[in-house]
Amino acid sequence: MNNKPSSAPVPASSDFDQLNRDWYIDKAVQALVFIGGISAIIFIIGIFVFITKEGLGFLVGDFSFKEFFFSPNWRPTSENKVTYGILALIAGTASVTGLAMLIAIPFSLGTAIYIAEFATGKTREFLKITVELLAAIPSVVWGFIGLAMMNPLIIDIFDVPVGLNVLNAGIILGLMAAPIMTSIAEDALKAVPDRYREAAEAMGATRWQMIYKVVLPAAKNGLLGAVLLGVGRGFGETMAVLMATGHSINIPGSVFDSVRALTATIAAELGETAVGSQHYKALFTIGISLFVITFIINLVADLVVRGVRKG
């Protein structure tokens, strides 16, 4: 406040008090919003600390890394010999996520290209809104759709005894992941500067040549980031895979086998375990693995996308 013209009257002392007060309020607010700012970091650390705290008892003691990750026998309530092997659960999650990505990647990238490069005006607006609404359908509703609509459909079409299997959950999960991947991929395409497109068209390229030779290479990292986030999403999905996979422990031999996913196992069994029991801790250990894996996927996706912005 020193830059007032010299001819201005000297402020009365109460004005200084007012300025002083404003300055303190400003500092106080800055401290408050800073707490908000670091809250995300606190929560991420808090999630890791608390799930580790609950699951730690399982990891110390006679924990066998090999048995946990490489035994297909998840028998937490067996009367003869209790075993905690998550290989079959990993296979369940991997098969469902894999099939989901086979469906979601081409469709979401195709849709993103169509919306960003071909569609115009009202059509484009309509498509974008529909994709957004598709992304908003809750996972428990998707699970119900798998259970009530896809299940009889699969039994009918493929003449199999059970319709709750890898195919069902894969399609459901693919439909769930596709809209999110579409929006991120579309953002990546939109981030390609228009002058690239104009240059290509000025050279006489058709629209498809321009997309294929110029836009896609330029948006490559963003598209890869979209795919990675889709994988992370599919991997962590719980309710839909709980309801649509059939929830039986299997290393699948075909898409018509029922499987059970890591996330679904926690959701189905946690309610029946006693707090602090070995079974309870084992479920938290699965949670720790899920946390670490999704953390890595998100980190890599972020680095990949960031590469694009720097380049």
Binding site: Q30, F34, A40, I47, F50, F144, A148, F235, I297
Partner: protein, 291 residues
């Protein structure tokens, strides 16, 4: 084009463009088709149970008859408590990131944490809620514990939407205000926030939609399959619409087919309504903006 006769190569390339255009358009249509089919089926099969009674009475006969009132009320309570926690925190975080944060490794770490908070599987959030709120802070399985779990899970939605709308306020507005001798906070309160409030609102509505649909995070922290009475306070357990759909479609034998369809229809309408309001608000805002 007409001035120059198309060469065979031109024709080939244009033909190829047409093929790909049709192919991609077809993929788009296939991706969107399910929404239409799903909505039509839900409405068709859920319509028989749909009535005001269904919305406003208690379930009877082991949930095979009657309405869904306790679940609907429970979802509303969970959403309200979650918003009370996450909106102030999320807006504060967004203000920090948009107005104060320097461009350094620490801010990058915050942004990474936000992305991760959104990416952590919902069931892991459930484990965290159980370990932290139910057990460690001794809230028990309660509305409070479930809502806080939901609040943390959906915090990124508020932060990202608010930050975007704050950053959309032109820098010149702030500079003009600073030049008048206003402090940073005065500028934010009088200039930045009023210009961003509709944008923030779209984010909050989006969060309502997300929170209402989540199931896994509340399964072990506060929501229960069935309660014979309504919750009296935030330390009570509650029923919830999303969990109710899971229960009536998987846990109850001899459930009449229309009941789960009805529950699913109510849930999806609630969620899509919220999203539509948010989208409409955003479009209105885009039309109104003068800078």
């Amino acid at each position: 084009m007409s001035m120059f006769a198309a060469t065979p190569i031109n024709r080939k390339n244009l033909g190829r463009q047409k093929i790909f255009r049709t192919l991609l358009g077809g993929m788009t249509a296939i991706l969107i088709m399910p929404v239409v089919v799903i909505m039509a089926t839900l409405i068709y099969k859920g319509a028989p149970v749909m009535s005001l009674d269904f919305l406003f009475t208690n379930p009877t006969n082991g949930m095979t008859a009657g309405g869904i009132f306790p679940a609907l009320l429970g979802t509303i309570l969970l959403v309200v408590v979650a918003l009370l926690a996450s909106v102030p925190l999320g807006v504060a975080a967004a203000i920090y990131l948009s107005e104060y944060a320097p461009d350094n490794w620490f801010t990058r770490a915050i942004n990474l944490a936000i992305i991760n908070l959104a990416g952590v599987p919902s069931i892991v959030h459930a484990l965290f809620g159980l370990g932290a709120f139910v057990i460690f802070f001794r809230f028990g399985t309660s509305i409070l514990a479930a809502s806080l779990t939901l609040a943390i899970m959906t915090l990124p939605v508020v932060i990202v939407a608010t930050r975007e709308s704050l950053q959309a306020v032109p820098m010149a507005f702030r500079e003009a205000c600073w030049n008048m001798g206003a402090t940073r906070w005065q500028t934010i309160r009088r200039i930045v926030l009023p210009n961003a409030v509709t944008g923030i609102l779209t984010g909050v509505i989006l969060e309502v939609s997300r929170t209402a649909g989540e199931t896994a995070p509340i399964m072990f922290t506060g929501a229960v399959f069935f309660l014979p009475f309504l919750p009296q306070g935030v330390f009570d357990q509650t029923m919830a619409l999303s969990l109710h759909l899971f229960v009536v479609s998987t846990q109850v034998p001899e459930m009449p087919e229309a009941v789960p369809y009805g529950v699913a229809l109510v849930l999806i309408c609630l969620v899509l309504l919220m999203n539509s309001v948010s989208i409409a608000l955003r479009m209105y805002l885009r039309g109104k903006k003068k800078w």
